[in-house]
């Protein structure tokens, strides 16, 4: 089997304080595949204005479910970066 380098577009969503930090509620991030949630976070922190203020290891969700930073992402996935939860 041959390894085919490819890239994918991830829809990244920001909430609450994180949305304020980056001044937006979402962004499209292009990553080389295979990639993990952690890779997406690194891109956000490196490239988005204000992104550096988001912690290196935030809570995250992929496609509406909690996910670890080690979870892999695929083209078209929605990754959300979640500030510490404060509901109830």
């Amino acid at each position: 089997m041959q390894f085919t380098p490819s890239s994918g577009t991830i829809r990244v969503r920001f909430f609450a304080r994180y949305a304020e930090l980056v001044g937006r509620s979402e962004a499209a991030v292009l990553v080389s595949l295979p990639a993990t949630v952690g890779d997406v976070v690194r891109r956000v922190r490196a490239e988005l204005p204000g992104g550096r203020d988001i912690p290196e290891r935030p809570l995250a969700a992929v496609n509406l479910k909690h996910a670890k930073l080690e979870a892999s992402v695929r083209d078209g996935d929605e990754v959300a970066l979640l500030p510490p939860i404060a509901g109830g």
Partner: protein, 151 residues
Amino acid sequence: MRTYLTRDPLSIGELVAEVASPQCGGTCVFLGTVRDGPEEHGVRAIEYSAYEEMVEGEFGRLVTDARSRWPAARIAVRHRLGRIAAGEASIAIVTAAPHRAEAFEACRYVIEEVKRRVPVWKKELRTDGTEVWVDPSGRPTVRPPDRPTHV
């Protein structure tokens, strides 16, 4: 599909009616209300926001988990979003079960799990005009909002 979110004031009576059943002798309700106590700094209201699409799914999974632990329990939950004045309820959980122990345990489980995993956030709107994001331990997470967000 059941919706767990609302922007309207919560009605305990409505939720109690949702779970009422002749088989259930014990009903437990938990109400979380916006506090303005001595640990706070003059809270007029809290602005609740959420990752709404995920909240619906997460509540669904959470209620399913509770039902698998207490199969006879009937559970209703509603979280309110938007601006909620001090003294008003932001969440109402009602559990009914044949016996009271199950009702209490299921109710407590639901609120603990909500705090752990349902993506909702709150910003205190204080009487001095400042607005502060609150973290789960109840401490403000950040700088006052009059400083620039990124320098």
